[in-house]
Amino acid sequence: MNSRHALLALLAGGLALAALPWLLSDFLLALALSCVMYAGLAVSWSMFCGPTNYLSLATAAFFGLGTYVTAWGAGALPYGLSVLAGGLVAAGFAALIGAAVLHLRGAYFAVITFGMGELVRHGITYYEKAFEGTVGRIIAEAPESTTVYWMVLLVSMGAVAAAVLVRDHRLGLALRGIGSDEERAQTLGVNARRSKIAAFALSAFFAGALGAAMAVRWTYIDPLTVFNPFIGFQTVLIAMVGGAQTILGPIASAVVFGLLTEFLRLQFPYLFLVILGFLLILLVLYLPGGIASLFERWRWRRGNV
């Protein structure tokens, strides 16, 4: 499927999903919101980490920065601009740290990106306390929940569109080359540093924008809530379970994961995380290629008929 087909399909899917507020109850819409948000986060994570085989744990930091931009701008910036600014701030931050740490690999990169996230969290805590005399911020004026849903949907659609475009263009090829053999790619003319920084920043843009878009739901913004490592881990989990080399995999994974977790949580209020952990282990052991490998198999079977 080429870019144009993929983007058309995305547009159709987006329009269908945009109609959900008229079809679903408040609760199911909130559930859809969560799935769409994680789909956007997982796709944006995979955009960089999938082809390059980097393991970034900075998603929580980008997301948190985005929420803080909304909180700082509350009352001054309109919602749409906050989201844009949140994305830009996160992207700028990613470009900055990317320049410093993207030469690291494997577990070193994973730990240092996590460390960067924590550094931002503690840095903001310290700044707010020392110069503003508080740690939390209140967002009193919140848009309607349907507005939030549409905004999150829009950003997530943007993430998917960006992922498709990156995949099908030179940047994607460069990233795959870097993931496979960085030095080889360089000797063939890839400016690895610039490609990595650009892709890392692009991926951070969407995480930051999603944070900025979601912030208005929580009324009270403090570092402990919004730099929740849980959000970052969940994103990595979803992307990897889905198959980070693909675009459809993380999307499907976000939906399956979101619905399954919620179903288990409501049906087994005490046992659900135990079941979830167990399922996760089984999944990794017996479906190592991720959810995307199911599509492959299915496509392959259909091709053979």
Partner: protein
């Protein structure tokens, strides 16, 4: 591209699976989300959810909730929110709009209560919150929000008055870098200033710290008359153990959250904590109602309730029960009734004014012989204070 179909299909499955629980005839359905996992779990499971469950059991054992002269059983619907704001919100959206529960009980902690307030107001559910405190919450002027704990300035004012009366001249303060610690610290500074107690050292530290000995050492060298730690449970334990190691023994040793937990006494040793002061409101000796509550809790859970928020939580449930039995299940009427009435509770009279609990005074408690005795104000005291604090044992 199968995403749309996939989502539609999945949504249909989810709809079927998560359809509203059908209302059993006549039961009063009360829903909540609470932290059973995540960072909020220890606090929520110490001070909050056990009370929710015990209350429903007690009411049901007595035949049910008296609604318009008819006894109706309580059906409690509780989910884990994983201490995650979005999960918490989604759960209450389900409870309020899909399940259409009759009443809700609030989630744990200041942050999650903040996040829930707009939703509760939109759907008109009163929140009697036992574990949220801070003037910032009240600044939202949410008519459905009734926090049960004392506000920081009230607590700190009491502490300052208590210390002033005992001739304290200087104090050192440490606080945790969270909204709680900052608001308490600001309130304390103001109160001490009014009372003429000089703060000779003030330090803050991040949540999750594992060693504070260097800080305590510096403070000890300054010989403050009183030491005030506006701390959370892990740091409360840490500060106690390390102050003891340093033989840092000021006349008044005060640590905020966690001193009221029975585990504090059990972990540190009853002899060690002798004379340590902290945030508390009550103990079994506070009155017959308190004693009954204490005994019931021990019988049901095989553990003592904490001497601060647990009883506030119980008081909130009592208020809710009295309101329902008076005006029925019309939530608007319940709200108005709560806002305008003075209630009798396990921690004494409670009346709300502009959402604030203006009846429960600031209290200072102190560990003495294995009980967290109330030592201030005099009308609530269950024992006289030990001042200065005896040496560490």
């Amino acid at each position: 591209m199968g995403i749309v179909h996939f989502v539609r299909g999945a949504a249909a499955v989810a709809l079927a699976a998560m359809a509203a629980v059908p209302a059993l005839a006549q039961d009063v359905r009360i829903g909540y989300a609470i932290s059973r996992s995540g960072p909020g779990a220890p606090g929520a499971q110490t001070s909050q959810e056990p009370n929710y469950i015990m209350w429903a059991e007690q009411v049901n054992a007595a035949g049910g909730l008296n609604v318009g002269g008819k006894k109706r059983k309580i059906e409690l619907i509780g989910y884990d929110d994983r201490t995650d704001a979005e999960t918490m919100l989604r759960t209450y959206e389900k409870l309020m709009t899909s399940d259409k529960v009759d009443l809700i009980l609030p989630p744990w902690g200041t942050g999650l209560n903040f996040a829930l307030m707009p939703l509760a107001q939109r759907h008109g559910y009163p929140m009697l919150s036992p574990t949220a405190t801070g003037r910032k919450l009240l600044s939202l002027k949410n008519p459905y929000f009734f926090p049960l704990l004392q506000q920081p300035d009230v607590m700190m004012e009491a502490l300052a008055t208590f210390l002033k009366a005992r001739g304290t001249k200087t104090a050192a303060v440490v606080h945790v870098d969270e909204l709680f610690g900052l608001e308490q610290a600001a309130a304390l500074e103001k109160a001490f200033k009014e009372k003429g107690i000089q703060i000779i050292e003030k330090k803050s530290y991040p949540f999750g710290v594992k060693d504070l000995q260097p800080v305590l050492r510096d403070i000890k060298a300054k010989e403050p008359g009183a030491f005030i730690a506006l701390s959370y449970p892990p740091d409360t334990f840490l500060i106690t153990a390390q102050s003891k190691a340093l033989a840092f023994n000021p006349s008044a040793f005060y640590a905020a959250v966690g001193t009221a937990f029975p585990i504090y006494r059990d972990k540190m040793g009853a002899a060690t904590v002798e004379g340590v002061m902290g945030l508390g409101t009550w103990n079994p000796k506070s009155g017959p109602a308190a004693k009954a509550y204490f005994d019931a809790h021990v019988a049901r859970w095989k553990k003592e309730p904490d001497r601060w928020a647990s009883a506030h939580c119980w008081a909130g449930l009592q208020i809710l029960q009295q309101a329902v039995e008076k005006v029925g299940l019309d939530r608007k009427k319940i709200r108005d009734y709560i806002a305008s009435t003075e209630f009798d509770t396990v921690i004494g009279k409670i009346r709300f004014k502009n959402g604030e609990n203006v009846s429960t005074p600031g209290v200072v408690s102190q560990w003495q012989n294995g009980e967290f005795e109330v030592v201030w104000p005099p009308e609530r005291a269950t024992a006289s204070s030990q001042f200065p604090k005896p040496g560490w044992n």
